[in-house]
């Protein structure tokens, strides 16, 4: 069953075209990862899906009644705002304390309920965000570089938790990631984005696609290739502009 359908989506900020003619879908229960260089429109695509950015053309269709759990890239809580983990988790959804405890457990941080958000470490914070996203049993989980700021063991553990969550709840996962080595092993499908969909498919197919190599280089994992990327590759009728990449 298709949960999210993105049709012919274009997003513009002023004169800059961030996304054009993006087509993609997310099916129930699958893990889809969006990869792409900085400024390739990954976050804009996610924002368009949750309705935070209005498309300039095309549309985003969600399955009626679709429940979305969203884990933002980073969440800055102003130090002047005192809020406990429990209060934070119960902010938007009418949920019980037991549900909070369960969600925290599912996210791998069972004992944080009474702590202040400002006292959490980076890893704990991201897991609380994950727990909050899980609390209303979403059909699909959206993660926008949710491991930013975590060290490598931390982010590996985080992605492990994501797979665990999928196995237990069966929810679909659409995530943005920079960590290609993790992505390639954990995803069912990879979408390579650079203003448009460069290529997509299973991790193995994408990794060998010429478009992907043009973006990330041929090195295994491509971790360093990210920083060597320049906009010198060509596609049929697509124009890459440096402005769009800003």
């Amino acid at each position: 069953m298709t949960l999210i359908t993105v049709e012919n989506l274009s997003v513009r900020y002023g004169a800059n075209t961030i996304l054009h003619n993006v087509e993609m879908t997310v099916e129930a229960g699958e893990i889809v990862t969006i990869v792409g260089p900085n400024g390739s429109g990954k976050t804009s695509l996610l924002r368009a899906i949750i309705g935070a950015t209005k498309p300039s053309a095309g549309r985003v269709m969600l399955k009626p009644g679709l429940k979305i759990g969203y884990v933002p890239q980073k969440l800055h809580i102003d130090p002047t705002l005192p809020i406990s983990v429990e209060r934070f988790m119960r902010l938007t959804d009418p949920v019980s304390r037991e549900q909070c405890v369960d969600a925290l457990e599912a996210a791998g941080v069972p004992d944080l309920l009474k702590r202040q958000m400002s006292q959490l470490s980076g890893g704990q914070f991201q897991r609380v965000l994950l727990a909050r996203a899980l609390i209303n049993r979403p059909d699909v989980l959206l993660l926008d570089e949710a491991t930013q700021g975590l060290d490598q063991p931390g982010s590996a553990a985080f992605y492990h938790q994501i797979e665990e969550v999928r196995r237990e709840t069966g929810c679909a996962i659409l995530m943005i990631s920079h960590e290609l080595h993790v992505v390639m092993s954990a995803s069912d499908r990879v979408i390579c984005l650079n203003g448009h969909v460069c290529c997509e498919g299973s991790p193995a197919v994408v990794a060998s696609a010429p478009e992907y190599r043009a973006l990330f280089g041929t090195g295994t994992g491509g971790a360093l290739a990210l920083y060597r990327h320049d906009h010198d590759h060509d596609h049929d009728q697509c124009e890459h502009s440096q402005e769009a990449a800003e």
């Binding site: 935070a52 969203y70 800055h76 809580i77 102003d78 002047t80 005192p82 902010l91 938007t92």
Partner: protein, 265 residues
Amino acid sequence: MLDDFMTRATLAGIGVACAAAPLGCFVVWRRMAYFGDATAHAAILGVALSLTFQVSIFAGALAVALAMALTVSLLTGRGYAMDTLLGVLAHSALAFGLVAVSFLSGVRIDLMAYLFGDILAVSRWDLVVIWGGAALVVGLIAWRWSQLLTATLNEELAYASGLNPKREQLILTLALAVTVAVAIKVVGVLLIAAMLIIPAAASRSLARSPESMALIAAAIGAFSTVAGLRSAYVVDTPAGPSIVCVAAVLFACFSLIGWHTRRGA
């Protein structure tokens, strides 16, 4: 009981403190301090216009404060940084207001009363307006409390929960304009931002939840009003600034205590 000007002044100050406390918390959390300042400064233009067209000061100040806040919200992100925009608009409005007031030859007005407030001259009708406005602000914020908090924490999180953060921002803007309009009489346009920010900031080190921070801020605001008015009466100092002074001293004390306990912990 309301025959006594000190009683009316105290009630007026507490009314403003109640509205300013929850709103002030959001101003602090969202780092909108300068926004509150700008809206308040613009209100002096509203005062001038009301005197020119002989409408109530409250209505004029409310209209201009609202127009100002909406203009800033609309123009944000279109070329100028927020603080530049606020600096231009707020001080232009203040300057135009001061110039406009000078043209009002037939009317003798005490400009100081609008810049620093004239809480001791609060009438019964003023009290009705202040408490009505305060009730509106508190009601508005209480009604949208969770949504406002979510939008304050993270815009995307709010969208993903089916909220529109822009609408929540608009609600705060509206509440700010109403607060400014009712607070002119009490602390004047130059010190309204102080009533918003200082009690909220002072309550931070004592609070463990957003709600308790708003309640403690209200208590600090109310205490500052009572103590400020008392000292103004005894030492014969200007009432509005005295209230702000008490709040500032409380802020310093609580911050020191908070700093000390954190360091000790």
